[in-house]
Structures are given as structure tokens and as C-alpha cells.
């Protein structure tokens, strides 16, 4: 079913959860890059290609982002806010995987443009099942054209149905203040 080699960006501050998520994806047979950053600030720096993240062969643009909510510095909401403010990043499927099942957290995440919201299961087997379902679903989804680094290629939609929605150039990157 896989239409492309997925590049997954995991935003997670808990080292145990990092291990579980990466292991679960590997157990499912994923061979693509799985990149782990430790908090929202790092995630934003990653997307903006700041510092070491400017090396796009080592840190390619993700095709899929999975973020925790509660993290030091910038949290998952900051990540969502930042991604959705940038047209090139807004279309990357971004799911929330959090311990919280608080109704307000869920509502806020969707308001900020989360593709889906999942509560971290306590059982590792359940986590694996959950990530499989998620991955399989997103792998069947069509995605826009990307270049070698995984960056979305901006095409002109002249003469096409979506022409009237043609997005202006992305705004100058704005940092999320903590």
C-alpha cells in the first residue's frame, strides 16, 4: 500500500515514549527515516532548517508529524500553531499523541489543525496497534509533490479548479516565543 517512503518526525520529550514510538514503528516494518526531536522548539527549528537541521539529507522534511502535547519550552499546541501558519507545512499530516484525554486539550488540538488526536495507550501492544492503524491510513493518502529533500514543491494551479485558493508565498518565518 505504501505510496512513498515515509519520513516521520516524532516530537516527544519523554525518552521512554520516544523509545516505544520508534520501536513500534520499526516493529511494524517501517524502513523510512524516523526523526525524534525533544520539544516544540526543536520541532520548529527542524522545520525551519535552523542550525544542524539545515542539512536536509540528514534531516529531510517529514511526510508525517506526530507530536506530544505537554513538553517544556514550546508544547504541542505551539507546534500545531506554527505548522498551520505556514502553507507549506500546514498540509503535512500532524497527529497528536498525548497522555491527556481532557476534552479541552482535544478541542484545542483540533482547533489548531491537528489531523487527528490519540490518547497514548498504557499497553505497548495497544500502542503498536494504534500506530499501525494510523500509519496504514496515512500511507494510503495522496500527498502533494515533494523535492528530493521532502520539501513541498510549490506549483501554480493556473487553469485548475483550485486556482482561486492559490496561496501567497509563505510569510517570513516567525519564531514561537516561549
Amino acid at each position: 500500500m505504501t505510496k512513498y517512503e515515509s519520513t516521520i518526525l516524532v516530537v516527544e520529550d519523554d525518552p521512554n515514549d520516544q523509545t516505544f514510538i520508534v520501536k513500534a514503528f520499526r516493529d511494524l516494518g517501517l524502513t523510512g527515516a524516523i526523526l525524534v526531536v525533544h520539544n516544540g522548539l526543536e520541532a520548529i527549528a527542524y522545520m525551519m532548517g535552523e542550525g544542524k537541521f539545515s542539512d536536509r539529507t540528514q534531516y529531510p522534511y517529514p511526510t508525517f508529524i506526530m507530536t506530544d502535547l505537554k513538553m517544556p519550552g514550546a508544547d504541542g499546541f505551539d507546534v500545531l500553531e506554527h505548522l498551520k501558519a505556514n502553507p507549506a507545512w500546514a498540509i503535512i499530516p500532524t497527529v497528536v499523541l498525548s497522555s491527556s484525554s481532557d476534552p479541552d486539550d482535544i478541542r484545542t488540538a483540533y482547533l489548531l489543525g491537528a489531523s487527528s488526536y490519540h490518547r497514548k495507550p498504557s499497553d505497548f501492544n495497544e500502542l503498536r496497534e494504534q500506530l499501525k492503524t494510523l500509519h496504514d491510513y496515512w500511507m494510503t493518502c495522496e500527498i502533494p509533490v515533494v523535492d528530493a529533500s521532502g520539501k513541498q514543491l510549490r506549483t501554480r494551479s493556473v487553469g485548475k479548479l483550485g486556482e482561486r485558493f492559490h496561496q501567497p508565498s509563505p510569510p517570513k518565518q516567525t519564531r514561537v516565543e516561549d
Binding site: D14, N16, D17, T19, F20, K23, L69, K70, S98, S99, S100, S101, D102, P103, K120, P121, S122, D123, F124, N125, L127
Partner: protein, 450 residues
Amino acid sequence: MSSLRNHQTKTSLRTPARRRTGKELEALVAQRTAELTRANESLRAEIAAGRRGQEASAMLAAIVESSEDAIFSKTLDGTIRTWNAGAQRMFGYRPEEAIGQPGTLLIPPERVEEEEQVLARLKAREQIDHFETVRVTKDGQRLNVSLTISPMRDPEGRLIGASRIARDIGEMVQARQVLAQSKADLERLVNERTAKLREALAELEHMSYSMVHDMRAPLRAMQGFATILQEECADCLRPAGLDYLQRLRESANRLDLLLTDALQYSQVVRQELPLRSVELGKLLRGMLATYPNLNAQAADIRLEFGNQVVLGNESLLAQCFANLLDNAVKFVPPGVKPHIRIWAEPAGVVAPQAMGASERETFQPDPAPPSTLQPRTVRIWLEDNGIGIPQAAQERIFRMFQRMHGPTQYPGTGIGLAIVRKATERMGGRVGVESGPGQGSRFWIELPIP
């Protein structure tokens, strides 16, 4: 007197005969004497009346003089005309010091315009009752007084001045101030306490919120690594080691359940819940169709009502019935298939099944007085064929963390029924149980209907 003279003149003109004249004179004298007597009596009466009038005036004057209130009068230009003893006591001026003085004598400088307003109202023929203001005594002390000012008129009805009755209301004003102060103190105290409570609540909320985020994380780690260890290191562990790992997982799992349930309980306590009409049959049928432990293979559950509608919150109701059904399915003797019957009846009617079973003990936690319930309520019964509940336990099972069985026999957190009770109460209803050991249980939920 003039009438007597006329009479005399007439008589002298009319009677020439002597004998007759003598007799007539006598009669005349008698008549005059009688008339004089009458005149004298009427004079006496007049004098007496005058004296009574004087007495009345004197009495009125004495009343005015002895009054505790200051009573004085002013002319239209404001000059003080009369001054009673009360006025002297209150303001310190002797009558000869006050009378003839301008009325502003008693008025503090900042209130001088008041007098003009009073005069204007008097000219408009208004009476001024219990006008609370401040006046100054001879030694410069301020007094809180209540003034009653009435216009005075001459016999022709012309306004000539005003009488004033001033009452010292210092104590009253002071009492009022004390009252206002203590009211303000009380309000401040209430506000402070409310703020503190709000703060405490917010802290609790934050704590339970963080509990999910932070306490579950290490728990998941324990569980996760135990699972991975079981899977990947099965070869290098002896059976006992694998068993320990399994127990580790189960304990972590149990703690996670406890945390989740406790959080659910606190959400039931806190969350805002709009009450709407809920069709119970639809809700329950939906639950039976989706909950794996409630399907037809697992349990025989009969819904014996069609369109029962209650006033409640759908998610709370679902939690209530999920917990009750969960228990009904769980607490059966080993090997027995759960049979559950659910029916509805108007509240207050004894269930026909309960009538022949008076030996069963019934417990109803904290029965709410009927007046706090909606006037129209319905009681939903859930009858099971489970192990039953002895009376001693019936009063405990609706409390937090109360369990009757060890985790190996019947697993659980002891929070389910506490959630049922809290949720029912928050919807304005009640919950209770009828049961005995080995007799199955009949739980009921009483809910308002729209």
C-alpha cells in the same frame, strides 16, 4: 340690656291702671332677674371655657417644653422664634441666645444651601418628614439629626414660618455605620474565602490534569518495557521471571485503571453538564451493540421499555449504565451467564418483584428528600443474577475505592459505583440497591423526566 330697656318703655306706654301696673312691675322684675341670671350663667360658662383653653395651651406648651426632641420655629426669613428646653439640651443655646438669631446658627457651613432648599419646599406647601442631616451645637460639635419641618400659617392661611422638630439620631447613625461596616467586613471575608476556594479548586484541577500527563508516563514506561522484555527476552528468562514480568505489567495496568477512573470521577464532579431529554432505550441499545462485554454471547440483557425519556446528560447517563452493566456482568458466580433485566417505572411505586421479598435488606445512600427531586421522576431498575451484596456492604459500595473482593476474584477499582452515584446526583436524581447474598441485585436510578 337694650332689650330690657325696650321692654320697659313699651310697658310704661301701655299700662295706665295702678293695680295692673304694680303687678306688671313685679312680673317685669322677675323677668329681668331671670334674664340677668341667664346672662350671668353664660358669662360664667364663657369664663370657664376661656380657662380651659388656657389650660389646654399650657398643657401643650408643657409637652413641647418637656419633649426630648428639640422643637423650635423659624419665620420665613429664617429667624428663630421659639426654642424649647429640648432644643437647649440638644444644641446648647439658651432660649435668649437662640431666639432672634438667624436659622443658619445651627447649620454647618457646608450645608447652607440645604436651608434654601427647605424654604423652597415649604413655600411649595410641602411637609418635610424625617430629613436626615447634620447640625452644629453651640460648642461646635456635629450632631446627626432627623428633621421634621412643617409650615405654619396664620388664621388667614398665609405662610408665616415653620416649626421644626429635630431628633438626635447619632446612635442610630452610628449603629447603621457599624452595621454597614460589619456587612462590608463580611462581604470582604466571603470574597476572600471564595477567592481562596477558587484558587484551591484551580490547583486541584491543575493537579488532576497534570496527573494524566505526568503520572501516567512512568506507568506506561513500566508496562511497555515489561511487555518488550517478555517478548524479546523470553528465551533468557526462567518461567518465574516471566511470571514476575507478567505481574509487573498487571500491576502497572491496574494503577493506570485506578488513575483513569479517579480522573473520570473528578471530571464527573467538575464538568459542566447541560441536561437534555435523553431517550434511554436508544442509548442502552447503542451501548449493548458496541460494548464487547455486553454482547449477546457474553450476557443476556433484556430491555423492557420502549420510549422512556429522561432529563439528563447523555455522557453521564452512558457512564452510569456502563458501570452498572459492567458490574452486573462481572459479579456473577463462576460459570454463570449473566442475565440482566432493565425496566422503568414511575418513581415511588414498589416494584412487583420486590413485594414478596421483604426479608431482603434495602439500602439507599443518603436518600434525598423527595422535595429536591423533580416533581416527575422515573425509576430505572437493573436486575441481575449475580452474587448479591450483603447489607453491611450496601452502604459502602457507593463510596470511592470501596471493594468487596480481591483483585484476582473480581477485578475493579472501586470507583465505578461512586461515579454512578455522583453522576446521578449531578443530574438531580438518586441511586440505590436492593440485594442480599446469593439473591442477585437490583440497582435503581431515579431520574427526572422532562
